[in-house]
Assembly symmetry: C2
Homo-oligomer: 234 residues x 2
């Protein structure tokens, strides 16, 4: 029997990365899930990532601590309130929830692990349609990273196969992602998208990430299975 | 008075990065030194980095924890003996002290911090002559990373100035680096290059890094100021 191809899947525990995890399973890959604890305030995401790995069945799941909090620069990794969709300040058109160079850091770590386990595929849930304007969620970012990957690691740099990053959700709307994920059997009740969950894990329903997610489920004609704080909550 | 340009300098605490730190000071930059604790066994390097920052005078120095140890794949971040220059095993011509994607990870974090502090220059001590064959120490790696940096962060991606990585030692031999550093006044007694220092901090004199360093000082006609375990030590 032929050895199965391996894929490293970046798994935040949110809706998009969960969909990518099931996408990779469907495509027949042996799954190596990689979560990064970069000091984000939304730590319930990591627990969600663990549950998703148990549900889908992975060969390995690593959680790598990366202390980006020390560098500041984002509402997501600093000890200040996460802005709502309405109040988020923007700089160069980019919201303050942007974590500088986050996807570059995530893909770099994934590249290292891919080389260690012998995976030639890395998958990330980056999405350029219903997204928040982050520069590192665009097709040209993925293309530039793939050019870098060709020369950055031992694999492929002296001839042989390159490690390739794929972003299967890049051209989908959030509604299309929800539809696709449900068709694959993703259990979205296990995912956490909220930047600022209330005590007990209820999603706030007001941050940019909740707003995009709710819009996606609504447009797809499905009900989001996660629990939200009531619309009247402060 | 004009605000000084800022540079983020990757500082391991070794000979090359110390030279780059003085190079950046000489060039007039305000210095933002960045050290990464990626779980390396050679932790005395981080203490050396702190001493070098105090000696050169920096605006800020951050030590960011990155848990690459969780991923394995290198003699430098795992709990196994560091090979000597003579015993190091190679894979695709690359020694086992290679940490997969290390410079990609380091530059990614530097890119994020550069954006936060408003630096348009990142400096790294990568060197393609007297080096150990690591793929991420070559000019084409730096070039590919710069292409990535143009699209990966908010700065520059919507027009405006790009953040640029510079590797000023790229084309120098180790002897030339030593000569250049001494001309800049680098205090090499503060640096730590050894992959496996003995108790008390003595350099082993036998690992690849010590071997390259000693060769550099010898060819430059200078004496290395750091203390080594005697040649008869086991």
């Amino acid at each position: 029997m032929r050895t199965r191809e391996k894929a490293v899947v970046l798994l935040s525990g949110g809706l998009d990365s969960a969909t990518v995890l099931w996408h990779a399973r469907q495509a027949g890959y042996e799954l190596y899930a990689l979560s990064v604890d970069y000091g984000q305030n939304a730590f319930p995401e990591l627990e969600a990532a663990r549950k998703l790995c148990a549900a889908v069945g992975v060969a390995d799941h690593k959680v790598v601590p990366i202390g980006l909090k020390a560098l500041g620069g984002s509402a997501l990794v600093e000890d200040r309130p996460v802005p709502t969709a309405a109040t988020a300040q923007r700089h160069h058109g980019i919201p303050e929830t942007y974590v500088p160079a986050r996807n570059t850091v995530l893909l770099s770590v994934a590249l290292g692990w891919a080389e260690v386990v012998g995976a030639y595929r890395i998958m990330i849930g980056a999405n350029s349609l219903d997204y928040s304007g982050y520069p590192d969620c665009r097709p040209k970012f993925i293309e530039a990273f793939n050019k870098l990957a060709e020369v950055a690691v031992a694999e492929g740099s002296a001839g042989g196969r390159h490690i390739v990053v794929e972003a299967p959700l890049m051209a989908m709307t959030k509604a299309q992602i929800v539809e696709y994920g449900l068709s694959l059997g993703v259990d979205y009740s296990l995912t956490v998208s909220c930047y600022q969950p209330a005590p007990g894990g209820l999603a706030c329903g007001r941050c940019e990430s909740c707003e995009l997610r709710l819009k996606g489920f609504a447009e797809a004609g499905h009900t989001d299975p996660v629990a939200y704080v009531g619309p009247g909550a402060s």
